[in-house]
């Protein structure tokens, strides 16, 4: 190869190097853009509607302006509460089983099925909750919605619990057993003391996700224009509220949808930040 063509090839390689590296930086900027957009619009369109009334009132009838999301917030809280009451014990104990005794064929199958479950579209889970709860009960209920949320939470919590327990060094376990503590007590101590923080943050993550779900609630808890805390009756939720009000032709309702969205984003961001705060590493990572 001539000296000139060698130089040219080198020049071209360096040019491609610079172009591609800039391209990846550009891609990152583009990727972050929608997030900024969404935050901007939600805040700007929603903030004007936030006042005390909004938080303590029920929705007004069609045609009247004003109204609030009090029942929706309560509903979401109840639904997430029911979901946790069912999903947390199942998820945590199943996770403990997988971590402590799961090193066999059954454990591997359960692990695979957990992963399968985590990829399940939420609407499919809603349909299942419908067939499992709504049909036998002959009506929609908060309980059905809670069951759907529980099913959605279980895979995340199981996996997180399992992984957090597995992260605890084996030497802790050996120390406990060597002292003559029975296996189950050792395990519980490890779960609560060492893995506890990680598990708690996994739970927080699961709760945040559950609070943001809409699809499965559409035909399980349905929705309710009135204040209700009855578990076996339909109940309102923040997400369904946003959905219905966004699609309505009334501008006043659209405005309220944005406000509701702002409240929801705020709640979820709060949980995410807590999650990040609790999982931050105390030690600086060296590259």
């Amino acid at each position: 190869m001539t000296r000139d063509s060698k130089n040219f090839i080198l020049f071209r390689r360096k040019l491609i190097n610079h172009v591609m590296i800039s391209a990846t930086f550009l891609a990152t900027l583009i990727a972050v853009l929608p997030l900024l957009f969404i935050f901007y619009y939600t805040i700007s369109k929603g903030i004007s509607s936030l006042n005390i009334d909004f938080f303590i009132n029920m929705p007004k009838p069609v045609g009247e302006t004003g109204g609030g999301i009090a029942n929706a917030i309560m509903g979401t809280a109840i639904l997430v509460g029911i979901g946790s009451a069912i999903g947390l014990p199942i998820g945590i104990f199943a996770g403990i089983y997988l971590a402590e005794y799961g090193n066999n064929k059954f454990g591997k199958i359960v692990g695979l099925l957990t992963d399968v479950l985590s990829g399940m579209p939420s609407i499919v889970v809603g349909v299942v909750a419908y067939t499992l709860v709504v049909i036998p009960m002959h009506h929609f209920s908060a309980f059905a919605g809670g069951v759907a949320l529980a099913i959605l939470m279980i895979p995340t919590i199981t996996r997180t619990t399992e992984e957090m327990i597995k992260l605890v060094p084996h030497s802790y376990r050996e120390a406990g057993l060597a002292l003559g503590v029975s296996q189950w007590k050792t395990s519980l101590i490890i779960v609560f003391r060492s893995a506890g923080k990680g598990i708690a943050t996994g739970v927080l993550l699961g709760l945040a996700r559950a609070a943001g779900e809409t699809a499965p609630l559409l035909f399980t808890s349905l929705g309710n224009r009135f204040w209700s805390t009855k578990i076996f009756q339909p109940i309102a939720s923040l997400t369904v509220y946003i959905y219905k009000y966004a699609q309505s032709p009334f501008e006043d309702w659209n405005r309220q949808a944005w406000a509701g969205a702002l409240v929801l984003i705020f709640l979820i961001s709060l949980m995410s930040l807590l999650f990040k705060f609790f999982t931050r590493s105390k030690y600086k990572k060296s590259r």
């Binding site: 990727a31 279980i154 929801l264 590259r287």
Partner: protein, 315 residues
């Protein structure tokens, strides 16, 4: 001489251990049976529709609740086309982000950016939909679609009125939602490539980008797995899509036209379903979704798992 038999208790004879092990096993069994139960329930629920329409359900396109005739093709088509388009849009972007975060960004920049992309993943679908209805769709209707019609209107992909709602809107929103999945899994996969590979490339006189190409080649299976997981998520996404896709059971080549996805049919019509057959048809759609997502997820996990096991054989 008789040897004294030493009485030895088996290791786990402790009652507590017994209860603990079996209690936790019960919960594991619950998780196990959950999936089985779900499949069973959906199969039973869709039996009516399966018996009536058989395989035709998958390829007939009449979705008529009034006449009680249900063909799944429009919604299957809609699901497929919006998801594929979404992946096409965000695969290069997602890879670009993953490369930047894993190989190029300095620590102080990488952490907040990673956090931001993961925050994107945490935004509820319904809020994406809200933003879609009031920001994205009007922009498409007023700016983008007229532009496309003017300049590419002769292509079948861009025929029709600038409605705003439709396949294009749904694909764009889906791509925003799927991007964080592709980018964070790919980033993890890239981070797992051993430094010795990069060193080997540098030592041969490679430029930084060429070193990155080698890293990409090494992790291509894992990246493919990430893309598949993203695709699986797109297929099952409901709310945001429902709110912007126009909800019309038609099959059209044009991106400007409205359409239907399996998830949005179920979301829209489930509470309105009047007859048993109607509900059964909707449950059958859910079953199809269920099967598709299971297959995609298993395939994706196998790919990512295989990457971890591949290079250990000759070390």
């Amino acid at each position: 001489m008789k040897l004294k038999k030493t009485f030895r208790k088996p290791a786990n004879s402790n009652v507590g251990d017994f209860i603990y092990k079996n209690l936790t096993m019960i919960f594991a069994i619950i998780v196990f049976s959950l999936v089985i139960l779900m499949s069973y329930e959906m199969y039973i629920g869709s039996e009516l529709s399966i018996k009536k329409f058989g395989w035709k359900f998958l390829y007939t396109s009449t979705w008529d609740p009034v006449k009680n005739v249900f063909g799944g093709l429009p919604s299957i088509y809609g699901t497929f086309i919006t998801s594929v388009l979404a992946i096409i849009i965000c695969i290069l972007l997602g890879l670009g982000v993953a490369i930047f975060l894993s190989e190029l960004a300095p620590n102080w920049l990488e952490k907040p950016l990673s956090f931001l992309t993961e925050l994107l993943a945490g935004i509820p679908s319904v809020i994406y939909g809200l933003w879609g209805i009031f920001v994205l769709v009007p922009w498409l209707r007023k700016v983008v679609e007229p532009f496309l019609i003017k300049n590419f209107g002769n292509l079948p992909f861009f025929k029709g009125a600038p409605y705003g709602f439709g396949i294009l809107a749904a694909a764009l929103i889906l791509s925003v939602m799927v991007l964080p999945i592709i980018s964070s899994i790919s980033r993890d996969v890239l981070n797992a490539v051993p430094d010795s590979q990069r060193e080997a490339a540098y030592a041969l006189g490679a430029t930084r980008w060429e070193v990155i190409k080698i890293t990409l080649a090494y992790s291509r299976t894992g990246i493919l797995g990430a893309v598949m997981l993203g695709f699986g998520r797109a297929v099952g996404e409901t709310m945001a899509v429902t709110m912007v896709i126009g909800n019309r059971p038609i099959i059209s080549a044009s991106l400007l036209d409205p359409a239907y996805t399996m998830a949005s049919v179920i979301a829209n019509e489930f509470t309105e379903a009047t007859s048993d057959l109607y509900i059964s048809a909707l449950i059958e759609l859910a079953l199809i979704l269920f099967v598709i997502t299971i297959l995609i997820n298993i395939a994706a996990r196998l790919l990512i798992w295989r990457l971890g096991n591949r290079w250990d054989d000759k070390r």
